[in-house]
Symmetry: C2
Subunit: 204 residues, 2 copies
C-alpha cells in the first residue's frame, strides 16, 4: 500500500497539490471527508468540528487543566475530536488501498506504513493573495488575513505536537518540502508525484 | 542568467546533487573552486582557509570582541575570509554565465539574481553512513562522526547568520528542500533539475 501525506501552511496551495496528486497517481483522496466521518460518528455539526480543530487547543482546554481541578474531556472537546480523527485515519489505512491525505498529522499517525510525506509552504504575500482569490476574505485587510493565517497554522502546529510530540513543519519530518511561491502548481505537481514514485520504488 | 544554489547538511549528498545538476543542466559548477580562488588572492593555504571557515566563528573571534578592546580583523580571520568569499561569488555572477554553486551562503549573497535555492538534508544514520563511505572516518566511532557533522553544520549556520541575518536551513529561504534518505540521488536529481526549469520559466 502506498500512502502520500500532504501537510501544508494555510493558503499555500497544499490542498490543490494533494487533489492533483490523487488524479495523477490514481489514488483515493481524503481531506474534508475525515470531518464528515467524525460528524457521522459523533453526531456533531461538521462546521463545529472544523472550527474546534482550527481553533487549536488554547481556547478549548480549561485554564485549570493539569492544576487544581481534575480534567475530564467531553466528546465535544478538541482532544476528543483529535482522538476520533486518529481512529478514522487508521481505519482508512486498514482498508489497504493506496491513498493521499491532506493535513491532520497523518504523517505521524500513519508512520508505520512508511508514507511519503510532503510539506507545502509559500511566501506570506502569496498566501494572502490565494486567500483573497478563494473569495473568503473579500472585505478583510491584509493584517486580518495574516492574523487568520497565523492562527490556523498555530493550531495545526499545536495539534501536531499533541499527536506526535514532533514539530510541525520541521523539514526533517518530511521527504520533500515545496515552496509554491514563484512556481506554477500545475507544472510542479507531476514532479512531486515522480518524487513519490521514486520513494516507493526504494521503500516497497 | 540562471543560478542554482545548493545548501546542504554535511553528509547529506548535497554536493553530489550539485554536480549532477550541473551535468544535467549544462551549467558551470562552483564549490571548492571558491576556496582555490580565495587562496590565490590571499596567498593562504587552501586547507587553512577550509578549516577556518569550517570551524565557524566561535574559535576565531577574540573573546573581547565588541567589549573592552577594539577589534581589528586580520586577513587570516574567519570574517576576512568570508568577505573575500563574498567578493569572489559576486565576481562569478558578474560574468553572466549560468552556474550552480554549492554552499557558502550563495543563496543570500546572490539574492538579487533570483537564484533557484535548494536545500539538501538527510536522516542522521544516512549521513553517518555516507561519511564512512567517503573513507574519511574509517576509525571513528558513530559518536565522533556525529560530533563532526554537528560542528560543521553549526559552523555553516553561524557563517550564514553573519552573512545574511537569516536562519540557515529554515525552509522559507529555499524553493525546494529535499531529504535524500530513502531515495536514490541519481533518480531524484533530474526531478530537482525539472523543478528549477519550471522556476526559471516563471522568473525570467
Amino acid at each position: 500500500m502506498r500512502i502520500i501525506t500532504v501537510s501544508r501552511e494555510f493558503g499555500s496551495g497544499g490542498r490543490e497539490i494533494g487533489k492533483r496528486l490523487a488524479d495523477i497517481m490514481g489514488m483515493d483522496y481524503y481531506d474534508r471527508e475525515i470531518l464528515s466521518a467524525i460528524s457521522e460518528k459523533t453526531k456533531l455539526d461538521e462546521h463545529y468540528i472544523e472550527n474546534t480543530l482550527n481553533d487549536g487547543l488554547f481556547f478549548h482546554f480549561p485554564l485549570t487543566f493539569g492544576r487544581t481541578f481534575g480534567y475530564m474531556p467531553d466528546e465535544t472537546s478538541t482532544s476528543s475530536l483529535l482522538a476520533q480523527q486518529h481512529r478514522i485515519i487508521r481505519e482508512i489505512a486498514e482498508k489497504g488501498r493506496d491513498f493521499i491525505i491532506v493535513g491532520r498529522s497523518a504523517d505521524v499517525i500513519l508512520k508505520e506504513f512508511a508514507p511519503f510525506n510532503v510539506f507545502v509552504y509559500a511566501d506570506q504575500a502569496d498566501k494572502i493573495r490565494r486567500c483573497r482569490e478563494r473569495g473568503e476574505h473579500v472585505n478583510a485587510t491584509d493584517k486580518e488575513i495574516i492574523r487568520q493565517l497565523k492562527r490556523i497554522d498555530r493550531s495545526r502546529s499545536e495539534c501536531h505536537a499533541l499527536v506526535s510530540g514532533e514539530k510541525w513543519g520541521e523539514k526533517s519530518g518530511y521527504h520533500l518540502c515545496v515552496n509554491t511561491s514563484g512556481t506554477d502548481i500545475r507544472s510542479i505537481t507531476p514532479l512531486v508525484a515522480e518524487f513519490a514514485r521514486q520513494y516507493f520504488v526504494k521503500n516497497k
